[in-house]
Amino acid sequence: MQRVIFEIISNRALTEQVYEMCLAGDTSAITRPGQFVELSIEGLFLRRPISVCNFDEGRLTLVYKVVGKGTADMAAMQVGRKVDVLTGLGNGFNVEVECERALLVGGGVGVPPLYRLARELVARGHKVSVVLGFNTASEIFYEQEFRSLGVDVVVATADGSQGVKGFVTDAIRESGVEADYFYSCGPLPMLKALSQSVNIDGELSLEERMGCGFGICMGCSIQTDSGAKRVCKEGPVFKKEEILW
């Protein structure tokens, strides 16, 4: 964990509710895809945890959905503004798993951390398939960004307005994607359905309301097969078999 003052270099809407914020600053504490950062927002007591969509030396990309006051305030932030950020939080995805074909499954605002993950898996020479689920066509974001990485992309929408009609599990079945390991981030019902429908090993990134974000308050604890764990510290990424549904 490191506290860094970042400067906003862009902040734009990708859909009606989803925004992409790029920030300049020291990203050296971020070591794995799937980690998150916490932004201090003026007028709010607690920091807001946001997953890391991408990072390079000196540059951080966050893709977030406006769901409350904190994220609404973020969406209104102007270029040039300084933001106090705790970086390098959480464990992140394990990209060193031995697998030939990786399946990445994202639902809605669970999609962003999979972007960096896809980049790293591609760089390691893995074959990567990405399945992205949204409610409707107007909520789709980052499809082109994933395609630009040269990975297979299947999009599903619940209302059928674009891509496969149905959930990510329907899209996986219909497209016949083959993989020997999966990574996923999205709403809990999606993660549950996915875990129970695929018979390969994998890991899931969970979301929970947090107090501190670095393991001291026990605000985000979940029960796992090996006892209580903190989503912010031992997580947010857990192995499929750890989760008690």
């Binding site: 007591f45 501190c212 001291i216 604890s221």
Partner: protein, 304 residues
Amino acid sequence: MVKDLSTTLCGVELDNPIIPASGTFGFGEEMSAVYDLDILGSISFKGTTREARFGNPTPRIAECSSGMINSVGLQNPGIDTVISRELPALRERFHKPIIANISGFSLDEYCECCAKIDKEEQVGIIEVNVSCPNVHNGGMAFGTSAESAAEVTRAVKAVTTKPVFIKLSPNVTDIVAIARACEEAGADGLTLINTMLGMRIDIARRRPVIANKMGGFSGRAIFPVAVRMVYQVAQACHIPIIGCGGVATAEDAVEMMMAGASAVQVGAENLRNPYACKEIIEALPQVMERLGIERLSDIIGCVK
């Protein structure tokens, strides 16, 4: 400009009065990666019970204006694991006497935990959280009546040798009566205040934000309440007080001490700023210089 920040709690000497409050610092493991723990006056560790507890369902946290509500539900690994695993690990990272925060749901539980922790050399002070519900008395919190708070105090004092501080709940009509009852029952000191009972509602979903509906409100918003209660109790009692509640700056710490606190705990602020205690300790000498204070202990209870 060499300022004397030291203070004393019942013979336990602290290099400075700043102590992370129980539940906002775990057992020090995570925070030892943020700064050298030895800069702290002491550490009050995570509230510990007889058995391991997972605590309450999530969400456990709610944002509030200038504060937060938590309903963690005393998640902890249990007294035996704390002694066998957490304390030895903490001993490697922090080389001063610690404050052992103990909770219980019955007199038996308080006594068993306190008797065990009393034998641990690194424990300087036992801090008894009386805000827990008494399972043998309809779930009424021990700390909400003078009689039951005194009863816990007497029971714990009978099985311990170290200084016992009772951590009082602010959710009472007369904090002074309860503080006096604890003092008369043999308490060596008092910590106040614990969190205030609060609640938030998600107006879009028409349901409480927190799974447990209500929880403990803490953070900057409660600071004036904490100062008032520390002041009232300091006027009425003769035992040392650890002031706690909404402290976020060195000025807050000074204010708390002027109200009557011999030491100061920093709680919720640690969650939003992991460097809070370090920054307060570093700022104290400048604040003292500005206010003409040479020895911090001189200002304890200076406001009459």
